[in-house]
C-alpha cells in the first residue's frame, strides 16, 4: 500500500469517526429538546431528524472530505514522486547534476539537499578512483619503458647463451603484454575522465567491415576457422574511423580467439530500425549465463576463456563497449554455450 493510499484511508476513517460522534451528539441534543418541549416519547422523531441531517450534510461532507484528503495527500506526496523520478536518472556519470529542490525549505527539500550532498561525495570518490587509475597507468609507463629498454639492450649482447637469450625474450614478451594492459587501462581511464575526444566524420561502415573481414580471414586461418560475411549493406555513420576499426578488430579477434578449431565466425552488417546493426557470431565454447552480465567488465574473463591458448589483456571488450557508447550506440551479447555466441553492436545512423 502506498503512503498516499494509507494517508487517504486514515483521513477518511477520522472523518467517519468524527461524523459518528457528531451524529450521536446531535441525536442526544434533539432528543433532550423534544423531551423538554412536548413531554412525550420523542425517540422516533429524533432518529429520523438526525438521519436526515446525516444524509443531507454528513455524507456530502464525507465525500468532500475524502476528495479534499486525496488532493491534500497528492499535493503533499508529489515531491516524493518527483524525487523518485529524479533519483532513477542518477548514474555514475551525472552525479554532479543536483536533484531539483522545491525551495520551500520543507522536509523533502532537506531530504533532497542531504541526497545531493551524498551524491557529491560519491562523485568525489569516483573521481578519485578514476584519477588514481590514470596516474597509476602513467606512473607505470616510465619504469616499463626502462625495463623494456634494458632487457632489449641486454639482448643485444652477442655473447649471450641461447638459454639466457630465451629467458630474456620471454621476459620481454611479458613486459610487452604488461605494456598493452597499461595502454588499455590508460585509454579507459582517460575515457572515464571524459578526456578522449572522438574525431567524428562521415564513415562508410561497410568499407570498414569489409576491410576487417579480409583481416579476419587471415587471422582465423591458422586455426582453420571459417569466416563469413553474408550481408554487408552500404551504411554511412557519423563516427571516428580509427576507433571503429579498433572496435571491429577487437570483436573479430575475440571471435577468432574464443573459437574452436575448424569453427566458424559469421559477421553481418545491416540497417535496421534507424540504426546500423553489426553482428558477429562465433562457434566457441560460449559464455555461461552467469558470466554474461559481467562480460564487458574490465579484466573479467569467463572460466571458459581461461585457456592457455588465449592471451589477451582482458580489456578488449571493455574498450569495445566504450567505443560503442562514445558513438551513442549499444553493444549486447547472447550466448548458448557450446553452440553460438553473438555480439550485436547498434550504432545510430547519420541523421
Amino acid at each position: 500500500m502506498t503512503i498516499r493510499t494509507r494517508l487517504t484511508l486514515w483521513y477518511a476513517s477520522v472523518l467517519i469517526v468524527s461524523l459518528i460522534i457528531i451524529g450521536l451528539g446531535t441525536y442526544r441534543e434533539i432528543d433532550e429538546q423534544m423531551r423538554h418541549e412536548h413531554h412525550r416519547e420523542p425517540t422516533e422523531h429524533a432518529i429520523s431528524e438526525t438521519s436526515e441531517m446525516i444524509f443531507q450534510v454528513g455524507i456530502p461532507a464525507i465525500l468532500l472530505g475524502l476528495l479534499g484528503g486525496w488532493w491534500l495527500t497528492q499535493k503533499a506526496m508529489s515531491p516524493v514522486s518527483k524525487l523518485t523520478d529524479a533519483i532513477t536518472k542518477v548514474h555514475e556519470r551525472n552525479l554532479r547534476e543536483p536533484l531539483p529542490r522545491t525551495g520551500s525549505g520543507d522536509e523533502f527539500d532537506r531530504l533532497t539537499e542531504v541526497f545531493n550532498d551524498t551524491l557529491a561525495r560519491l562523485d568525489d570518490s569516483f573521481n578519485r578512483v578514476r584519477e588514481f587509475t590514470l596516474h597509476a597507468s602513467h606512473e607505470l609507463k616510465t619504469p616499463l619503458t626502462i625495463l623494456c629498454g634494458e632487457v632489449e639492450t641486454a639482448l643485444r649482447d652477442e655473447s649471450l647463451s641461447p638459454l639466457e637469450r630465451e629467458r630474456l625474450i620471454s621476459q620481454l614478451d611479458e613486459l610487452q603484454r604488461l605494456a598493452r594492459i597499461v595502454d588499455g587501462l590508460t585509454l579507459l581511464a582517460k575515457a572515464d575522465a571524459g578526456q578522449v575526444a572522438l574525431q567524428l566524420e562521415p564513415v562508410r561502415l561497410d568499407e570498414l567491415v569489409r576491410d576487417n573481414f579480409a583481416d579476419a580471414q587471415i587471422l582465423a586461418e591458422p586455426q582453420g576457422v571459417q569466416v563469413e560475411l553474408p550481408a554487408c549493406e552500404e551504411i554511412v555513420i557519423h563516427g571516428d574511423r580509427h576507433r571503429l576499426r579498433q572496435l571491429l578488430l577487437n570483436l573479430t579477434d575475440n571471435a577468432v580467439k574464443y573459437n574452436q578449431p575448424q569453427g566458424r565466425v559469421t559477421m553481418n552488417l545491416r540497417q535496421t530500425n534507424g540504426a546500423a546493426e553489426f553482428t558477429i557470431a562465433n562457434t566457441g565454447p560460449g559464455v555461461p549465463p552467469e558470466s554474461l552480465p559481467r562480460i564487458f567488465d574490465r579484466f573479467y574473463r569467463g572460466d571458459a576463456a581461461h585457456s592457455p591458448m588465449v592471451d589477451g589483456c582482458g580489456l578488449g571488450l571493455s574498450i569495445a563497449k566504450w567505443i560503442v557508447s562514445a558513438h551513442q550506440g549499444t553493444i549486447t551479447i547472447e550466448s548458448t554455450p557450446g553452440q553460438l555466441t553473438t555480439v550485436t553492436v547498434r550504432l545510430p545512423l547519420t541523421t
Binding site: E152, P222, Q246
Partner: protein, 224 residues
C-alpha cells in the same frame, strides 16, 4: 648520422643513447627543452628524438619553436601520455613521427633510420630486392620471372617492406604504415600476414628474403 635525444628521465636517456651508439649513431643528450633548443641552434642534427613530457618547456612547445624558426630537422616524438589524438596533434605541429612509451628500442632505431634517410627513400616505381620485383604502377609482383598473386593488403605490406629494404621494420611501424592503425591491436596480425607473404615470395625460392628479427620485427633483405 648525428642525433639529439631530449629526455629528462635519466635511465631512459641512457639506454636510448647506448642503443643508438651501438647502431653507429653519434648521440647528444639533453634533459630539458631549453637545452635542446640551444643545442639544435648550434649543431645540425639528422634526427631529434623529443620526449613530450619535459620539465619546464614541454616537447610540443620545443617542436613549435623549432618549426617557427624554420628548423626542418626530422623530429620523432616520444610520449608516455598515451593520448589517442596526441599523435595527430604532434604530426600537425610538424613532427615527423610519434612513438608511445613504452616503446621497443628496435622500433625506435628503425624509425630513426627511416627518418634519417627521408628524401633518400626509394621512390622509384620499380622496386627490386634480389630477383623479387614490384612494379608499383601496374601493382605486379614477380620473383624469378614468376608472377605472384597478392591481395590488396599483402601488396601494401610488400611495398612497404621493399621500400624499406635492408632496414628493420618494427611491428608497430608496420601496423601504422600498412594498416593505418594508431593503436596496438594486441593481435598477431602482422606475423600472420608475414607468414602468408613468405609462402608466396619465399617458399619456392632461394634465397629467403623475409627475415625475422626476434622481439623486434621484420626485414626484407638479400642475405649477404
Amino acid at each position: 648520422m648525428r642525433v639529439l635525444v631530449v629526455e629528462d628521465e635519466k635511465k631512459t636517456a641512457s639506454f636510448v643513447r647506448k642503443a643508438l651508439q651501438s647502431e653507429g649513431f653519434a648521440v647528444d643528450v639533453c634533459h630539458n627543452g631549453n637545452d635542446a633548443l640551444a643545442a639544435a641552434k648550434t649543431t645540425p642534427f639528422d634526427v631529434i628524438v623529443l620526449d613530450i613530457m619535459l620539465p619546464g618547456r614541454d616537447g610540443l612547445s620545443v617542436l613549435r619553436l623549432l618549426r617557427e624558426r624554420r628548423d626542418a630537422t626530422p623530429i620523432l616524438l616520444l610520449s608516455a601520455r598515451g593520448e589517442v589524438n596526441e599523435r595527430v596533434e604532434g604530426l600537425n605541429l610538424g613532427a615527423d613521427d610519434y612513438l608511445p612509451k613504452p616503446f621497443e628500442l628496435a622500433e625506435l632505431v628503425a624509425r630513426m633510420r627511416a627518418l634519417g634517410r627521408r628524401g633518400g627513400e626509394n621512390k622509384s616505381p620499380l622496386l627490386r630486392v634480389a630477383d623479387l620485383t614490384l612494379d608499383t604502377l601496374t601493382r605486379r609482383a614477380q620473383r624469378g620471372g614468376a608472377e605472384i598473386e597478392l591481395t590488396a593488403r599483402e601488396y601494401r605490406l610488400l611495398e612497404f617492406l621493399m621500400r624499406s629494404a635492408g632496414r628493420l621494420c618494427g611491428r608497430m611501424m608496420i601496423l601504422e604504415k600498412v594498416w593505418d592503425y594508431d593503436f596496438d591491436p594486441g593481435t598477431n596480425l602482422v606475423d600472420v600476414y608475414i607468414r602468408r607473404l613468405r609462402e608466396k615470395i619465399d617458399a619456392n625460392f632461394e634465397p629467403k628474403l623475409v627475415q625475422t628479427i626476434r622481439g623486434a620485427g621484420y626485414m626484407l633483405k638479400e642475405p649477404a
